[in-house]
Symmetry: C2
Subunit: 476 residues, 2 copies
């Protein structure tokens, strides 16, 4: 378009399409949409558009396309990599398109084990609606009270149930998407099998809004398990934890729905900062594993599986000690230990976080090798290593040496990241297991991806968004 | 390229790259590669190239690209839709690239539950190698003795274990692909979580070789179940079978690994043509369901789950009769009834086959509505309906009225297809659940896909294969 951009006529189009009250333009109104929740990024935008339906999304995207306005799709704004925050000002005017008003549950189909929801439905609400219909929606993560399913899909969120149920990608059967030129694609299929062309669904999932805007999705549901029981096992190394994983999978098969590793330092921090939480063993151990079974029979049956499994692990010398939760409350207490690790880290002070994955069989090698490299470069650095061992996904966090200045240590962030990510790459892992790239890891990612892969990604971006209007400065 | 194509110099390049004995050019040598195994399609090709490694594939693809030669990738040549057979002669010379010599198992990683295999590995061999390592590779289908994993990936094959383990797509973690210009992409990741860019893996899976050539893959393995037990349940309608499915899922959760529907006519044909197979009930029933449980504990435990489940189903009036297999042999016998249905159909004569899927909750509606439409158009047509009910996938086959001429009836194929596929579309289903499009359903598919979806598919094809060299005349 050679004519100059006229903001007023563009905004009038938007106001006519979705109502003036849903076109935000004052600095105060814009502010909450322009900063990510970790307050790492703040961007600029001409306006925030809050369409109320997929059709309204299509209309405003069409207007953006006609006026060459760049678009940043946003859900609950809980992302950890700045993917939903406008990037540094570019050549084009930018709007944030908030999907929060698209919050209808369009259909629940218990027999098909599916639920059709709009992008702005909050994850916890989706879980609750499923439960009201006697079904489980298994996706679960820390931000579930405010993140939206559209954001979960855009970033292919992981969480605590991936071991059994997969990432958000594996939980989605169909999508509705507004393309960068403002066309509405109805791909809302509720099918377990469909081989009629290219897999567009999985291309939009995890693309972080750079190829189009997800407006609705058909998600999978599962039968509600009758019981969930957890256990804690004490082991002497990550390698022993891996041996326990193999034993647990052989005994429990698909019933095994959680397998989380926590180092001794994690437990030290948790019990230091949250003394009300009870550590269930009489002595400290180098590593704890939290296991969860979901059982379609009964709590007793799950406990019996745990007893047999732990007996086998003790006899094999894999496990030093074990405790099976005797009640729902005790299961809750065990999970509390795990979930308070990030909170204890906050209390302890600043640290350098990594969200990495390696093949499960290489986790122990990765931890040993990377710990050693970090100790060499930063003697005394404290490793707060925990995470979803059953998925090969570690939150591999580096805290300053005890008693040293935190801000001084954080100045080493780039060097620490490079040691960790180079080691991840050497172990054929991923530098972003479940949080995506956004702005945070966009450049870092280019260091590790092959040129042939980057070229294919750019070709797809160019094919679906030739004007480069969708979420510029993210992913690629 | 404006210069004329010179076959000899092209073939000399290929001979130098992979050895002259692996460049087939005589009519006799070519013949087996130019006809699909149902003998529905026969194509033409300048040569069949049989590279022996991914690097050799890249070299010959590079030569094809330089000489503008079209390529048809081929695995075990067991596809049902002509996807691996050259289509009608186009403007360009065509070669078949057979992946059968890429048969190395590159790595088995039991702790990571993965196996890395080359495209030409036969599915049954992959299953066997997994079992030798105490692991299950769950993909299983009729052609497993000769189909290859590369073909399974290219067509996103389904089979009998989808209910629990998903299609081939869900079993794959990473790919190695030769791009249409002959570059080798190493995407062989063995990760459960990786959010570092567009999902290229799932774009190549199910693309039937139209976007590039899969040369190797990292596939998921599972713990071997301790026991597999089957049961047969007699129900009076597809609707009752759906009610049984809900009961079975509530009682067995992820242990439920098979749920197959078989109509009374299926059983009549099987017992007529294979009288040695034993029908386990004393009277005929309108529908039978075959259920399979995979148990990580024991056979006894699986039988006990079955007893509780069937008791609940009998009390709810959902099931008329039920038989739980008492031995491995009896489990085998039950599966034999199911597996002999296609063979009994062959004995009975010709029929018109459909491989369709609808949302599971709509299966009963679909069968009732479509049966009625077909009876109206073709009175007396016999419906041989069976399939993977738990996946919403039916083999909805139409046999001629008893005693009528089969060939005369088959002249109605286009009209029958249109009634069935229009009804599938009206029920928001898929006209190709697990067999792909190939040549057979390419045009039919365009009738049902939206223009916006077809435009995105074409844009992706154009982006990754701008010269249109990969498997022309298939999918799009």
């Amino acid at each position: 378009m050679s004519t100059a951009f006229r903001p007023d006529s563009f905004l009038d189009l938007c106001r006519a399409a979705i109502g003036p009250q849903h076109v935000l333009t004052t600095a105060d109104d814009l502010a909450p949409y322009l900063t990510d929740w970790r307050r790492r990024y703040t961007g600029e935008a001409l306006a925030v558009l809050r369409p109320g339906s997929a059709e309204e999304v299509a209309t405003v995207v069409h207007a953006c396309h006609a006026h060459r306005v760049a678009m940043v799709p946003q859900g609950g704004n809980t992302g950890l990599c700045g993917g939903a925050t406008p990037a540094a000002a570019g050549e084009r005017p930018v709007v944030v398109i908030s999907l929060q008003r698209l919050k209808r549950v369009r259909q629940v189909d218990p027999l098909n084990n599916t639920i059709t929801v709009e992008a702005g439905v909050v994850l916890q609400h989706l879980q609750e609606v499923a439960r009201e219909h006697g079904r489980l929606f298994p996706l679960s993560l820390a931000a579930e009270g405010s993140c939206t399913i559209g954001g979960n899909l855009g970033t292919n969120a992981g969480g605590t149930a991936v071991l059994r149920y997969g990432n958000t990608r594996e939980l989605c059967l169909g999508l509705e998407v507004v393309t960068p030129s403002g066309e509405l694609w109805d791909g809302l299929r509720g099918l377990r099998k469909d081989n009629t062309g290219y897999d567009l669904r999985d291309l939009f999932i995890g693309a972080e809004g750079t190829l189009g805007i997800i407006t609705a999705a058909v998600m999978k549901l599962y039968p509600l398990p009758r019981a969930r029981v957890t256990a804690l096992a004490a082991v002497d190394s990550p390698r022993a934890a891996l041996a326990l994983l193999a034993i647990a999978q052989a005994h429990a098969g698909a019933m095994l729905t959680g397998f989380e590793l926590m180092s001794a330092l994690c437990m030290t921090l948790v019990t230091r900062h949250f003394p009300q939480l009870r550590y269930p063993f009489v002595q400290p151990y180098p590593q704890l594993v939290l296991l969860e079974l979901s059982d379609s029979e009964s709590e007793d049956h799950a406990r019996q599986i745990f007893e047999t499994m732990m007996q086998a692990a003790l006899e094999a010398g894999v496990v030093q000690d074990a405790a099976v939760a005797e009640s729902v409350q005790q299961s809750r207490d065990f999970w509390n230990l795990r979930e308070h690790i990030p909170l204890a880290q906050v209390e302890e002070g600043k640290n350098i976080k990594h969200d990495i994955a390696v093949p499960i069989s290489r986790i122990a090698d990765f931890i040993e090798a990377t710990d050693a490299l970090l100790q060499q470069a930063f003697p005394g650095a404290r490793m707060v290593t925990f995470g979803h061992l059953g998925d090969g996904n570690l939150h591999y966090n580096v805290s300053p040496p005890a008693g040293t200045d935190h801000d001084a240590f954080l100045a080493n962030q780039a060097a620490v990241n490079q040691i960790v990510h180079d080691s991840v790459h050497a172990h054929r892992g991923s530098i972003s297991a479940e949080h995506g790239l956004g702005q945070l890891k966009r450049e870092e990612n280019q260091r590790y991806k092959s040129e042939v892969e980057l070229a294919m990604m750019r070709a797809i971006k160019q094919a679906l968004d030739p004007l480069g209007l969708m979420n510029p400065g993210k992913v690629l």
